[in-house]
Symmetry: C2
Subunit: 356 residues, 2 copies
Amino acid sequence: MSRSHEPATRVAGADLQTFMERALARCEADEASCRAVARALVTASRMGTDSHGLRLLPHYVRAVQGGRINPRPAMRFTRRLPGTGYLDADDGFGHLAGFTAIEHAISMAEEIGIGAVAVGRSSHFGAAGCYALEAAQRGYVGLSVCNADALVSLHHGQGPFYGTNPIAFAAPVPNQPPYLLDMATSSIPWNRVKQYAAIGRELPPDVVVDRQGNLTTDASQAVSLLPLGGADFGFKGAGLAGMVEVLSATLTGMIHGFRMLPMSGEDMSTPRGVGHFFLVMRPDAFVERDIFDRGMLDYLEDLRAQPALEGREVLAPGDREWRCQARRDAEGIPLDSANVVAYAELAEELAMPALS
Amino acid sequence: MSRSHEPATRVAGADLQTFMERALARCEADEASCRAVARALVTASRMGTDSHGLRLLPHYVRAVQGGRINPRPAMRFTRRLPGTGYLDADDGFGHLAGFTAIEHAISMAEEIGIGAVAVGRSSHFGAAGCYALEAAQRGYVGLSVCNADALVSLHHGQGPFYGTNPIAFAAPVPNQPPYLLDMATSSIPWNRVKQYAAIGRELPPDVVVDRQGNLTTDASQAVSLLPLGGADFGFKGAGLAGMVEVLSATLTGMIHGFRMLPMSGEDMSTPRGVGHFFLVMRPDAFVERDIFDRGMLDYLEDLRAQPALEGREVLAPGDREWRCQARRDAEGIPLDSANVVAYAELAEELAMPALS
């Protein structure tokens, strides 16, 4: 672990990956689970998606130690029709379920142009973008969505009903990193509310409500996130969360988010029944590949050439992430002081070498 | 045409449909085109989606008379792989392209569980919801998206880049009308800006920008819509618009919205090269149908039982539309005074019986 001129401790992605795999192996996780979780968390941390990166490892260790997550799942894939299938994740890690499902979706898409996999009996899968990205890096268009426990209000509702139900979409771009959208259907994540409450910082207007369902900027009073669009246009964000719910819960036969045990709840022994949904398409199943490739390049060239507001920059989905990844690959991935402590404690508890 | 106690003139859906079909037939449109356009517009007007309903007929008549839209297209569908296909719409009406494409997607989904159709060389297709709805009414999950000419800013961008690029998603619900989300990826439609400018009404904050890219609530100063999420979180709305652009333009080999001739522009003779994308899935290609059905019912029951803000109501996607449809089916579809005049002029110009 080397120190840069910035206050954060920095660590190489490969070292982080090794540490994570070892830590999970100490919890009896099988090799495939260790690899999948570490890969998803390192991918997210390299891209700067810190909320879904390395900070989650201690949580996953608790969940697998408590029995909520099955460390050695026997995941079963059933190809129900030529373009569709169901993956029973056997209460294993969502990351292994995600990479397994996207692999099946890619293989169906390769054969018949499109493939979709619904995943049931799964758990938190980290950043939704990891799985759509895997498809795009292999030359396909990918979509991944997931439901979650209730943190987000309905439009005109008082308290939380939906999870932050993310939508991730990725597409290949010739000689460039993929096009990558990975967004929660709320304006901000719950994690930010907790951070702001801890330091007494004011939230932006129109993103959270208090116990009575009224808008507040006081993070300590927040009990529910508003859907994207806020108090006036939140029917759109809530509608998108609903689409994700239908795909991730109804189409997988799982419980919907409102009935789901909270990810950060006390109960670390009961599987939560999370569902995911993945879609993969071959671009040349629709148009000739060179036309698709040229179209992506022309569109992104026009997009990046748009005049920006003063002091601002216009970016394509993914641009910020790839820039961060290049920087973190060169300088290392930063750990804040809380994570330095958490990782040191984890090493001690699991009687394994510290992250270095 | 009967007058209710409300100021609006009201007309029965069936009479409206007949008038529309006749008007388009007078413009040499073939029977399939006449039927498809009228069906899409009446469906939207019955549901209360007035921006995409009857008011569009005079526009379509001009577009087909001017040669922008081909009244007798030879649309060609190619099933490129078992789950995917391409529909060349031959510059015909987008509505005919939409119903044709969703039919092919349904038939592929029936056979292999899922079907997707990219449509190129098309035109404005009215409300995206019509086509997703058609799938849901037949028992499938449906998605339809479409790109459009530039009206919406990029996040941190100065002027318009994306169209209002709508996303429509529908799913069947046992013994209830379908679940239906149909939303533009901007907060408000451009049409509303024009209406508010005409009557000097102030817009809500955070939905439009002026020539310099600064926020304004003065509709007469608006030159671009903000993406859903507004000035702070518009990267999400713009990201969704981008996903729609990739599906509707890149995957169809069409021009992206920024390069597209404006729908409301002077040029009524040049085809615009609009693209659409449709996806259909069989629920029982993922889980047993009774599990899916029970899941939809349980989810919607919980949703509709959520406590609402005082004086407000919690609604599922589509609830508002089905309520409006029931009312309009009973009372008739309202025409405001501008549409009464426009329809009378149309009847005269086309030498056909007035709407009655």
